[in-house]
Amino acid sequence: MSASAIIFYIISAFILGAGFLAMTTRRIFRSAIWLLFSLIGIAALYFWLQVEFIAAVQIIVYVGGIVVLIIFSIFLTQQSGNQMPKQPLKRIIASALAVLFGFGLTFLQIGKYDFRPSTKNFDWTVSKIGSQMLNTSTGGYALPFEVVSMLLLAAMVGCIVIAMKTPVATNGKAQEELLEKMKERTEEELGITEISEV
């Protein structure tokens, strides 16, 4: 077994261990940190595969962006030290069985198929990626690039619209007043319907 193979097995054990802990630990903040380690392990796997560009993108976007966003939202929404409620045993067993069967089935299919790796060298450069990304002829990715830019714009506008404060709903006192008003209104409506039924 060569050194690169040993490094690969160490990296994959790290990824799977961190991912498994991220999905099973009951403290949500620890779960986010394990997810962070798992994503760093995946970046290491990309480095091992010698696609350094994707590894850099992985670290910048996932580790620097998404995990930080998730940690922020954990702090905004709950006490991070609290444990999450235990799931019923029936659900855990059922989902573990479903997942194990799915994994077995998929891996049997992978084992049956005979992959013949090409002997050629994988030659990518960032300049090649860039020129193909903005190429409008066949094999170019100019259209998906533009579509993704529209998607990002839509996501940004959507986030702003969702997060926009309606002055009534966020103020606690005003919210109670609104709730009371709504109660009165529903009662009125109920009264009206009763009268109309009579």
Binding site: I15, P144, G158
Partner: protein
């Protein structure tokens, strides 16, 4: 590099996918479900890179798919977290069982 057969890398990505599925099935907290989705997307990314590198080394399509998936995952996470925080403001809970009125 060639000392590791391709199926071993596919084993890692498949295992990661099903770990994510397990999290998606068992967790009822929206943020942890979002984390599970991130794991699933990452396992798919590993597959794309490996297939591109081992089977079609003269093309770059796998790398483009990975870049687009990462972009879309970032947008999805941003929108999902905006929705989760807004839901928390109105319901004081981010448990999916308590958000059933969003169904209709």
């Amino acid at each position: 590099m060639s000392s590791v057969p391709m199926s071993h890398i596919l084993f890692v990505s498949t295992a990661l996918f099903f770990i994510g599925m397990y999290g998606l099935f068992t967790r009822r907290n929206m943020i942890t479900m979002l984390m599970a989705i991130e794991l699933i997307l990452n396992s798919v990314n590993i597959n794309f890179v490996v297939f591109n590198k081992y089977l079609y080394p003269d093309k770059l399509d796998g790398i483009f798919f990975v870049i687009f998936i990462i972009t879309i995952a970032a947008a999805e996470a941003a929108v999902a977290i905006a929705i989760i925080i807004n839901l928390y403001r109105s319901h004081r809970s981010i448990d999916v069982e308590n958000a059933t009125e969003m169904k209709y």
